[in-house]
Structure formats: structure tokens, C-alpha cells
């Protein structure tokens, strides 16, 4: 034992010598020594190897760079650069490996000091999309943890809409109008404060309204990220809530043809959906992808009754063509999305008396047999999108990206009308948006990364005439220009600083008819007489408001990873936002809530100062993250009931866009515990509160506390079982917006108080999901998923569902899905 230990201690003396006799080294030795010249040369060549991402040119850290001589095996960490010293002249076989990239293997002839730039190709596991999450989401935020939806989560929401899927993330809730119309709320903020970016292109689709769903199909994308912080500046400085990034899968430059088909059948609404995509790629980097989806459901069912006129249909077709090479890349994406949604018939109210009657009933006044037919009230949205991108790499450290985007959004809203006019939209808006953006990435040799750019947006909204109703949103042109710069200083993976700023200029050129009396009563005739064009015979006045806003955004962050695997990120965000057109100029009746919505021409720009602390523990059986945050808003804009107005139809609550200073605070928390490698518990918690600063009154439309839990068990035979529990508390913080309504009932003159902001009861929904992979071959996999939502068929109403006055939410829903990847 003693001799053995002694020999081991002398390893450093004899092991290098023995290595000379290994077959590989003997071959190298022989090859080198047959050449006198080479043998005479000294092994003093230094080789610098820069390892870059072929897709975007970003340096890749933590790659293993090795030569055929095993003495040279180095893990790079300094902005993707490795220096290999003391190399002998001659042929050198270089191998570079990284867990998220294809292995690189090549031979070089080395005779002097030189620098090699190696571009690695990201791995793309097309046949097993569940694994896509590992590398699809290239980290964009350096100082805040990113929240992502995995491919399996996206698959589970193939039959739902994008907001349903997003609401599974901590800190994200939904504001809804029924089941099919919903939009995400992040940290209590929604509308223009939350942007959706698809393929690098910001979605423009009349996103201001709480009753407008994003005009995009989640099935067309394979990755979803929720971003906050410096990395959002590229897409806008007005997103104090956050930005949702939708990504396509990465395509390998090989000759390949593959795709997937997803078929879903749903018990509730007896609906189904079909989504498919097919991708053809070539070794020269050229590829194209075609995707399409179709969904149709009949009227949905609450536990005790049918929700009449809630049928819907949705279709989407898209094409993506691209060629990506080492030096440059271009891509074109086009899509057509159409969504037709029926709105609960009983929610179409004529006046506040109808609303009171609806609130006092437990059931909708109209319950009919379910049908696939969609009648008024309804919405039909068609969204066309075309996007061209070009990237040029000047050298390994810099890259220029150009983007041009075109979007055409047509929104038609149908109300119950007389004399066959129900077929004529009461609201018909056509919004054309064009975006141009130029941005430049630069990686310094040191630790810096800069990204700077300019974006231009042109928007043309037409209130299409012939509706027979004064348009809720007027005609306008909007020009928006912004420039930004963001920088990241990454000394190593444990200490990162970020800083960025963006300046935006908004110009609005609006043509709008005001009622002459409104114009004068609000004293606009004194303040804005220069906007007046002419008065009409019907007591209206045509005006041409031209408004300009400058907005500044500043984001900064620092991230520190401690040895205990606990990381702390700190971010400060200043976000300024020009009021949107709806907030300034809305003017009309919303039948879905029997409300008159009014904009306010005098609204100033909104400023939000937000501070987030992100603490995460990233390893071991127990992983967790908490993100407390505080936001102080100046001139925060929100829509709230302010009183009633009586028209010939009867009395209506008036909702007006108000502006006041406000405070937000809250916490998001995620927890994951691995009982075993195949048995995982996950939970997310979200809490947010918001007050008006002066009055301390709670703000309207703030999501209540929620706790979502998942327990997942997976066997080796590709079978998994998951139990879900979603508990949503009663909102205890809400504004008192009580107003009185009087009417005659049973011969008595009755006066009633009505509060549209009072909360609903808490609820707890259970569900489960079973997945089983039947076929799991190299070229074909088939997985089935059986999912049940609202397992106990509970009657409940959601606080942020604007149809909560009229009906319960939907009852038990059983979904059977087949996912075929080929």
C-alpha cells in the first residue's frame, strides 16, 4: 500500500513520459518528426480561439476547447475567447463542445500565432420538442430571472388562447371578457403597458381595450418568455408591466424535413382544434416553415347552464422563409390570423336597469341549447402580418440587424340592433402599422456588450364609415420614433451589471367629432380652440387634435451569484408612456357592460418608477425564487366608473379614463421541490396591491392573491401524471364606486345602490393531466394528453372577468390531445 501511494505521488514524473507512447501521440510524434524543418521549430505558437453563436454572433462561454493533444483542454469563460499556448507548428485538430451546441471538429494548419473565429450551431431537437426549452430561450435578461413557458406547457394550451397559457406564470394574471377574450396583466398592469413581441416584432392590434384579445395564435410559436428590465428597451420604453416574447424554433442547417400535428378535442363546447407545422431545411442555411391552425367550439357550458352565444372559431396560417449563414441572414415571416367570438347574449344590456336585473339574477336571462352558431353580440378580428429581417455581421464582435414589419388589423364588433343592422358592425376599425427598426450589437474584447438602435412606427387607424354608430375610437395617424442603448458588463457569470436608456417621441394626428355640448362643457373650446375645424348641422364639432409626447425610459440592474447557489438580482426601471388613443379619445357605448366609455384629452404622460429584487436558489432538490417589487406611478392612467348619465335608452354608468399618482407593491414566488428525479412539486404565488397615492383608495382591476400548485410524476416508460390546484382569493382591496339607480318595480319607486367593482368569492379549482408517449422513435413520436380542468365542476366567477355580473365561468372541461412529431 505504501509503495503504491509512493508511485502515485510520483505520477507527475512518469505519466507525461508514458503518454508519449499512447497510439495517438505516437502518430503525432511520427508525423511531426518526419519533417526536419518542423522538428527544428519550437512549440511556441499561441492560438486565440473565439467561439461564437452562429445564429446571432454572440460569444459563447463555457465551451470546452480541446486539441488532439489532450494537454490542451480549456473551458473558455472570457467573452467566448480561449488562448491556447505553446502549440507546435503543423496540423492541429480542434474540437469544441458545449452542452447546447453541436460539437465542432476541424483541422487547421498552424505555423504562426493566429486567431480563429469558430461559430457553433445551436442544437435543435426537432423530434423531441419537450427538450426545446433548454436552448430555445437564449437568455435576454442578464440581471433578472426569466420566466418561460416550456414546449409541453404550450402544447397543453393548444386549445386555449395565449393569455390562458401566460397566466400559469407567477406575476401574470388575466383580465377577461368571457372565456375566449382575455389579455395578460403583469404586476397589476395591462393594455399598452404589456407588449407582445413575435419574432422580434411588436404586435399592434388595438391592444388598449380590456375586451380585446391579442391577435396571435400561440400554436405558431415554440417558446414564450416573459421579460422585464434592460432587455425590454429594444422593444419599447413604455412597458412598465413587461414584455412577452414569442419565438419560433431554431432550425439546423441540414437537409431535413420534419413537422408536427396537434389534435385536441374538448368536452366543454364540444370543440376541437388542429394545429400543424412542417419545416424543410437545407445545408446552406436556407429553410422554410409553414404552420396552420384551426379551432372551433360551440357554446360553452357553465356547471348549471349553457352560456348561450359563446361559440367561437379561430384560424391562423403562417409562413416563414429564412437563410442564415455565417456572415449574414435574412428571413421573411407572414401570417393571417382570424378570430370570431360570440359574446354571452345575456351580457348585452340596454341600460343600467338591465345591468341591475342581471346582477340580481343568479342565471343569465337567456339559456338556449348549445349551438355552433355565432350571433350578435360578437367580435371578428382579422390580423395580417408580414415581417422582413436582415442581419449582417461585420466581424465576430459586431452585427447589424434591420427589420421591417407590416401589420393590418381589422376589428369588427357586432351588437344587437334593429332592422337587420345586427349584421353591420357597430364598431369597425382598420389599423395599419408599419415598423422599421435598426439595431446594432457589439461585443467588446473585454466584458462589455452594447446594443443600440432606432425604431420607427407609423400607425394609421381608420374608423370605417357606414356603421351607423359614432366610432368609439377616432381616425388617427401616429408616428412613434425611439432610440435606445443598452449595455451589459459581465465580468463573469457571477457578477453582471446592466444599464440602458431609451428616448421616444410620439406624435398623434387625430380627426374626431365631438358633441358640441361635450366640447364646450369640458372647456375644450377655450383650451383647444386651435384644434377646431368646423361645426356640423347635427350639433357636432369636427376637431383635429395634434399631440406630441416625449418619453424616457431608464433601466438598470445588477446581478450577483453567491457560492451558496443563491443569486440576487436588483433592477430599477423608469418607464414613461404617452397616453394611448383610447385613453385620450374613447367616446361611446359598450353594450357588454352597459357603460359609456370616455377618454380625456388632457391626460398627461404616465411615469412608473419600479424596483424589483429577484432572489433565486438554483440548485439542489429545493429550488425557489422570490421577486418583491414596488412601483411608484405618476399620472397613472386607469378606467373607472365616475357616475351615471341618462340617455333615451335609460341610465348608464360612465367610465372615464382618469389619471392620478399611484403605488403598486407585490411579490411573486416560485418553488420547486424534487422528491425524486421523477417526482416534482411546483408552486407559484402572486400578490399585488395598488393604491391611489393621495386618497389611498385601492385601484380598480387589480388581480387578487393566487396560489397555483402542481405535482408531477413521471415514469421511465414515458408516462406522466400531474395534479393541479389553483386557488384564487377574494379581492379585499377594491375601490368603492357605488352609484344610485332608481326605477319603478311592483308599483313602488325603488332606489338601488350598484357597485360594479365589488368582488366575487374566492374559489379553488382542481385538475389533472395524464401524458403517455405511445411511439418514441427517431423519426416519429406520438404522445397523448388527457387534461381535466375544473375537475369538481365548481360554479365560480372570476373577479377580473367582466362577464362576472351575468354568468358563472365555464365548468368541467376534459381535453384529449394527440401530439404527433415526425
Amino acid at each position: 500500500m505504501g509503495v503504491s501511494n509512493g508511485l502515485k505521488r510520483l505520477n507527475f514524473l512518469w505519466k507525461p513520459f508514458l503518454r508519449l507512447f499512447c497510439p495517438k501521440c505516437l502518430a503525432v510524434f511520427g508525423a511531426v518528426c518526419v519533417c526536419d524543418k518542423a522538428c527544428a521549430q519550437k512549440c511556441d505558437i499561441n492560438l486565440e480561439v473565439e467561439v461564437l453563436d452562429q445564429n446571432d454572433g454572440a460569444p459563447i462561454n463555457d465551451a470546452i476547447v480541446s486539441t488532439q493533444n489532450e494537454d490542451h483542454e480549456i473551458k473558455n469563460s472570457n467573452q467566448g475567447t480561449t488562448i491556447i499556448e505553446k502549440i507546435c507548428p503543423g496540423n492541429l485538430q480542434l474540437t469544441i463542445s458545449h452542452p447546447h451546441y453541436e460539437v465542432y471538429l476541424s483541422q487547421y494548419s498552424i505555423d504562426s500565432d493566429q486567431t480563429l473565429k469558430i461559430e457553433l450551431i445551436r442544437k435543435a431537437i426537432e423530434l423531441n420538442p419537450v427538450n426545446l426549452e433548454q436552448f430555445l430561450h437564449r437568455s435576454q435578461s442578464q440581471t433578472l430571472s426569466e420566466k418561460i413557458l416550456t414546449q409541453s406547457q404550450i402544447d397543453a394550451y393548444a386549445h386555449q388562447n395565449i393569455s390562458d397559457a401566460l397566466s400559469t406564470l407567477s406575476g401574470v394574471s388575466m383580465i377577461r371578457l368571457g372565456n375566449e377574450i382575455s389579455k395578460p396583466i403583469i404586476h397589476g398592469m395591462y393594455g399598452s403597458r404589456v407588449a407582445i413581441v413575435a419574432d422580434g416584432h411588436r404586435l399592434s392590434d388595438q391592444e388598449w381595450g380590456a375586451d380585446h384579445s391579442p391577435s396571435i395564435d400561440l400554436n405558431a410559436f415554440q417558446g414564450v418568455q416573459l421579460l422585464k428590465g434592460v432587455s425590454t428597451l429594444k422593444y419599447g420604453g413604455d412597458t412598465s408591466g413587461g414584455i412577452i416574447i414569442l419565438n419560433q424554433s431554431i432550425v439546423k442547417p441540414i437537409d431535413s424535413l420534419y413537422g408536427s400535428v396537434s389534435i385536441v378535442g374538448s368536452s366543454n363546447g364540444l370543440g376541437g382544434s388542429l394545429a400543424s407545422r412542417i419545416i424543410k431545411s437545407y445545408p446552406n442555411g436556407f429553410h422554410f416553415k409553414i404552420n396552420g391552425s384551426y379551432k372551433k367550439t360551440r357554446d360553452l357550458i357553465a356547471p348549471d347552464y349553457t352560456l348561450s352565444n359563446t361559440a367561437s372559431s379561430r384560424q391562423n396560417v403562417g409562413i416563414h422563409i429564412a437563410k442564415k449563414t455565417m456572415s449574414n441572414s435574412w428571413e421573411f415571416t407572414g401570417s393571417v390570423f382570424q378570430n370570431e367570438i360570440g359574446i354571452l347574449r345575456a351580457a348585452h344590456t340596454g341600460n343600467v336597469r338591465d345591468l341591475i336585473i342581471a346582477i340580481n339574477r343568479n342565471r343569465p336571462w337567456l339559456i338556449e341549447d348549445p349551438t355552433f352558431e355565432i350571433n350578435s353580440p360578437s367580435q371578428m378580428v382579422t390580423h395580417y402580418s408580414a415581417l422582413g429581417k436582415y442581419s449582417k455581421r461585420f466581424d465576430s464582435t459586431s452585427k447589424l440587424n434591420l427589420l421591417y414589419g407590416f401589420q393590418h388589423n381589422r376589428r369588427k364588433e357586432f351588437d344587437i340592433r334593429r332592422a337587420g343592422r345586427s349584421r353591420i358592425p357597430s364598431l369597425h376599425l382598420r389599423l395599419i402599422t408599419q415598423n422599421i427598426s435598426i439595431d446594432y450589437d457589439w461585443f467588446s474584447k473585454g466584458f462589455w456588450h452594447f446594443n443600440l438602435g432606432t425604431t420607427i412606427e407609423l400607425q394609421d387607424n381608420e374608423a370605417v364609415p357606414g356603421t351607423g354608430v359614432s366610432p368609439l375610437i377616432p381616425e388617427y395617424f401616429k408616428y412613434k420614433m425611439g432610440s435606445y442603448i443598452s449595455s451589459t458588463y459581465k465580468k463573469n457569470n457571477d457578477l453582471i451589471f446592466e444599464l440602458g436608456a431609451r428616448l421616444d417621441y410620439d406624435h398623434l394626428d387625430v380627426k374626431k367629432f365631438y358633441q358640441l355640448k361635450d366640447w364646450e362643457n369640458r372647456k375644450y373650446d377655450e383650451k383647444y380652440s386651435h384644434f377646431e375645424i368646423r361645426k356640423t348641422a347635427s350639433s357636432q364639432i369636427l376637431t383635429n387634435p395634434k399631440l406630441d409626447f416625449w418619453s424616457l425610459a431608464v433601466n438598470s440592474g445588477v446581478y450577483k451569484n453567491f457560492k451558496s447557489n443563491i443569486s440576487i438580482g436588483f433592477n430599477y426601471i423608469l418607464s414613461q408612456r404617452a397616453p394611448n388613443v383610447a385613453e385620450l379619445f374613447s367616446d361611446g357605448l359598450h353594450h357588454s357592460l352597459a357603460t359609456i366609455e370616455q377618454g380625456n384629452l388632457e391626460l398627461p404622460k404616465e411615469s412608473v418608477h419600479k424596483t424589483l429584487i429577484d432572489i433565486n436558489k438554483n440548485s439542489g432538490k429545493l429550488q425557489w425564487g422570490i421577486t418583491p417589487y414596488v412601483a411608484l406611478a405618476k399620472n397613472y392612467i386607469y378606467l373607472q366608473p365616475i357616475g351615471t348619465i341618462t340617455t333615451i335608452r335609460g341610465a348608464f354608468p360612465v367610465w372615464e379614463y382618469l389619471s392620478s399618482d399611484a403605488q403598486f407593491w407585490g411579490i411573486d414566488a416560485d418553488l420547486e421541490y424534487k422528491f425524486k428525479s421523477n417526482m416534482i412539486y411546483q408552486s407559484t404565488v402572486s400578490y399585488v396591491a395598488a393604491n391611489e397615492s393621495k386618497t389611498k383608495n385601492p385601484l380598480i382591476d387589480i388581480p387578487p392573491f393566487s396560489l397555483n400548485q402542481r405535482m408531477n410524476y413521471r415514469t421511465k416508460s414515458d408516462f406522466s401524471f400531474q395534479v393541479t390546484s389553483d386557488w384564487v382569493a377574494k379581492q379585499s382591496r377594491y375601490p368603492e364606486t357605488t352609484f344610485k339607480s332608481s326605477y319603478i318595480q311592483d308599483g313602488q319607486f325603488v332606489q338601488t345602490d350598484i357597485n360594479l367593482t365589488s368582488p366575487v368569492k374566492s374559489y379553488h379549482l382542481l385538475g389533472f393531466e395524464i401524458r403517455k408517449k405511445f411511439i418514441n422513435k427517431e423519426n416519429l413520436s406520438i404522445e397523448s394528453r388527457l387534461g381535466v380542468r375544473n375537475l369538481m365542476n365548481l360554479s365560480y366567477r372570476e373577479y377580473l372577468n367582466r362577464l362576472r355580473y351575468f354568468s358563472d365561468d365555464i365548468g368541467r372541461t376534459i381535453e384529449l390531445q394527440f401530439q404527433i412529431d415526425f
Binding site: 340596454g350 377616432p474 353594450h591 319603478i744
Partner: protein, 202 residues
Amino acid sequence: MKAFLQKSQSLLAYSTFIFGLIFLVSCSKDDPEEEHDHEEFSHIEFRIKTGHTEQKLTWAAEEEDHDEDHDDHDHESHGEFEGDDTIKLKNGTKSEVSISIWNRHDGENENVTEEIKEEVDVHQFFYEFSPDIVKIEPSSSDLKDSDGINLLLFTDWTPSSTGSGKVEITLIHEPSNKRATREQAGGDADFEITIDFIVEEE
């Protein structure tokens, strides 16, 4: 850093070019068309014929801006009666009451009553009195829907005692149950007007 600044300059040049181009092509919108609102009623006329006497009340829609007082959360604004604003009835005497609905804009005088008559199957008038001292019956000239239910556009009012109060007249669109009370009828209100009435001794 020098390379970065050089690249930044070229980026600035690109940006300036595109900004300039945008401003060159920017233009202003044409004046939009004024929308003629077919759904709203501008005038509602009530003709009350008691014996040889005929009374006419005209309610003209007129919105006042709600924004005059932000602190008052219960303010209301009304249309107003042009002239007489109280229905005068005689105790124990039948009065024939008819309603006509008009949409008057830019000199046009559209009689919306015809639309209501054409869509008798999906419309229903409701009358609610406080105090409940007036009996309502369909008049002989009233219309019936395909189920034989009267529209109550033309009605006979017979007071059972003297007094004064208010009557709420509502036109409901697409009621689910025409025979039910206003509370239970479903549908949504096309108009709802509250009018003072007085019942005098014959």
C-alpha cells in the same frame, strides 16, 4: 471602443436617412364622415286622447355632459320634454295612448316606429306605474306578434283613483318572455322613459 463609435456613426446615418424618408411620406388624414346614428332615438311622441281632448308630449333626447362635477357620483342628465311634461288623465275614463318614435338628424325625419312594427316579434313595451293606479290594456289598433301577444304600442289607460305619480315606459328588444314582468322579461332596453302623470276627477 473606437470601432464601436464608428459603427454607431453609420447607424446614426442610416437612422437619419429613414427618419427623413418617413417625414417626407407623412401626410394628414382626410376629414372623416359624420356617422348618422340609426340606433338612437332622438324624439319620442306620446299622444293621449281622452274623449275629444288630445294631449301631445314630445321627449327630445339631449345629453348633458356628466363631467361638470367629478365629485358627484350620482349625477344624471336627461333629455327633456318640449313643452308639456305631465300626462293628464281622468279618473275612471279611458285614454287612448299611442307612441311614435323618431330619429331626427340633419333635417331628416326618420320614423323608427315602422321598424318596431316590422319587428313586432322581437319587441315589447312595458309600463310600470307608481302608484299603481292605472290599468293598461291594448287598444284595438295595437299590433300582435306571431304568438298573438300585443306589442302595446297603442294602449288604453284607465285610472282607478285620483292622484299623481310616475310611469316608466320601456321598449325591450329581444325579450325572452314577453308575458313576464319587466324584471323577468330578459332582453335589453331600446328606450326607457319616466314620465309624471296626474289623475284628476272626471
